[in-house]
């Protein structure tokens, strides 16, 4: 097999693993929201277990990238693809961490009746899954315009976050007893908002991969 072909196979395997890691984090975010809505302690707890697998993926992909850099010494687009993957996994691993943190919160508040409807938080969860999926897809498919869309979606995420925040402030003002749960829900919203930020980072790396210029939005 030619050296070039070996390199392309290694790059293909790297991308496959990256997609698998990403799918796992999407599932974790979905489970976190389901657990929250259904007050499902067990499901909330299981997310922490899934996060261990995400950490393993991160280590595996990191090793894979290091090995390619060492053995193939890629340049130009090849170099950008490997270094982009290496940077991205930090953000993808953070998707998992945030989902796992939401799972932990569900465990602490699972018995309580909610002080508000979870419509906006659920919308944030769905948006987070979409941003995660599309950010990684934009890299896999070399799709710069999809990366731009992800960056745009973050405005929607920020607006939803503000809405949730304002609602919770009002609820605390109305009755101090709402405070404990309001803070926990606020943390859920913040974790989801952070997932959006990490998805933007991934999209920015996709743009670097395509253009060679890394611009922070």
């Amino acid at each position: 097999m030619s050296i070039r072909k070996i390199f392309e196979e290694e790059l293909g395997a790297l991308k496959t693993e990256l997609v698998e890691m990403c799918h796992l984090t999407e599932q974790m975010i979905e489970n976190a929201i389901t657990a929250l809505v259904n007050r499902d302690r067990e499901l909330g707890k299981s997310i922490g277990q899934m996060d261990k697998r995400v950490d393993e993926y991160e280590m595996d992909i990191e090793k894979r990238c290091m090995r390619i850099l060492l053995k193939q010494q890629p340049v130009a687009k090849d170099f950008r693809e490997v270094s982009t993957a290496l940077k991205m996994i930090t953000d993808i691993e953070r998707f998992g961490d945030q989902a796992s943190d939401i799972g932990d919160l569900v465990c602490t508040m699972s018995g309580e009746k909610y002080i508000k409807k979870l419509t906006h938080i659920t919308a944030m969860g769905n948006l987070a899954v979409k941003m995660v999926r599309e950010s990684v897809n934009s890299f896999i498919n070399n799709n710069k315009s999809l990366a731009d869309e992800v960056i745009q979606l973050d405005d929607e995420m920020d607006e939803l976050f503000l809405t949730v925040k304002n609602e919770l402030i009002e609820l605390i003002k109305k009755d101090g007893k709402n405070g404990d749960q309001a803070i926990e829900l606020m943390m859920v919203a913040k974790y989801l908002e952070r997932i959006g930020d990490h998805a933007v980072n991934v999209a920015e790396w996709t743009k670097y991969n395509e253009t060679g210029v890394h611009v922070k939005v």
Binding site: I3, R4, V75, A76, D78, F79, R80
Partner: protein, 258 residues
């Protein structure tokens, strides 16, 4: 008066619209480039792309090739090197090291002193000083100070190549041209020559032809990619190897050509 002539040669190379033919075959096509002083510039490209031919234009080594015709404006500093100049003076200012080490069949000392002697230096103490300085510059003094009067042909390939660099340095060149200087050497000797280039560029402009991409990324500040006699892309080495602008450069450096 002599000093004035030496100083006239600058350390940057400026080429405009260079064309070169070997008989009917056009080996260089309309090349323009500005090579900055006291930096390392690498020429890369597949065999037969014209990079060595272009390098040899800088000290008129192609004058020796029959049927070779050159057009364009070649300047070292302000001097038009294809104008009315003393070619020996040019080659003193623009030294060259070749792929295969080519020490003269004489002692280490005489190899280094050969150039200065032809420029008329005969005083032993002056020659001693030049030999020591040149060998020190080439980081070889400690290795060779006890073997100065032994034959240079007894040295290893890597030592011979560094001796050739030292021999070039004895003429106090402003620019050093290196045509694949490490392609016949092992990694340790290659490393020594790369370290040497890093040191020499504080004083001298270096232009190197290399087939080793990693070598270009390690040592060169600027890189020029040649293909079929054309200069396809020229820029900062970091840019060429991370984000080449021309697809042909990308295909060549990533090994996709063909």
């Amino acid at each position: 008066m002599k000093k004035k002539v030496e100083n006239a040669y600058g350390q940057n190379v400026s080429v405009k619209n260079a064309n070169l033919w070997y008989g009917d075959f056009q080996a260089l096509k309309n090349i323009s480039v500005e090579i900055p002083e006291k930096q390392v510039t690498a020429f890369i490209g597949p065999s037969g792309c014209g990079k060595s031919t272009f390098l040899k234009c800088f000290n008129r080594m192609n004058d020796l090739v029959s049927g070779c015709k050159i057009e364009g404006d070649f300047r070292i500093g302000e001097i038009d090197i294809y104008g009315k100049i003393d070619v020996n003076e040019l080659r003193k200012n623009v030294g060259m090291v070749f792929q295969k080490p080519n020490p003269f069949p004489m002692s280490v000392y005489d190899n280094i002193a050969y150039g200065p002697r032809t420029f008329g230096i005969t005083k032993r103490s002056k020659l001693d000083e030049i030999v020591e300085t040149s060998l020190r510059q080439a980081a070889m003094w400690d290795e060779l100070k006890d073997r100065l009067h032994k034959s240079a042909l007894g040295l290893s390939g890597g030592q011979q190549q560094r001796l050739c660099i030292a021999r070039s340095l004895a003429a106090k060149p402003k620019i050093l041209l290196m045509d694949e200087p490490t392609s016949a050497l092992d990694p340790i000797s290659t490393g020594k020559i790369e370290e040497l280039m890093e040191e020499l560029k504080k004083e001298i402009t270096i232009v190197i032809v290399t087939h080793n991409m990693q070598q270009a990324t390690r040592i060169a500040d600027k890189t020029a990619f040649f293909l079929l006699g054309e200069l396809i892309e020229y820029g900062d080495t970091d840019d060429i190897f991370t984000s080449p602008k021309d697809e042909r450069t990308e295909r060549y450096i990533t090994g996709r050509f063909g």
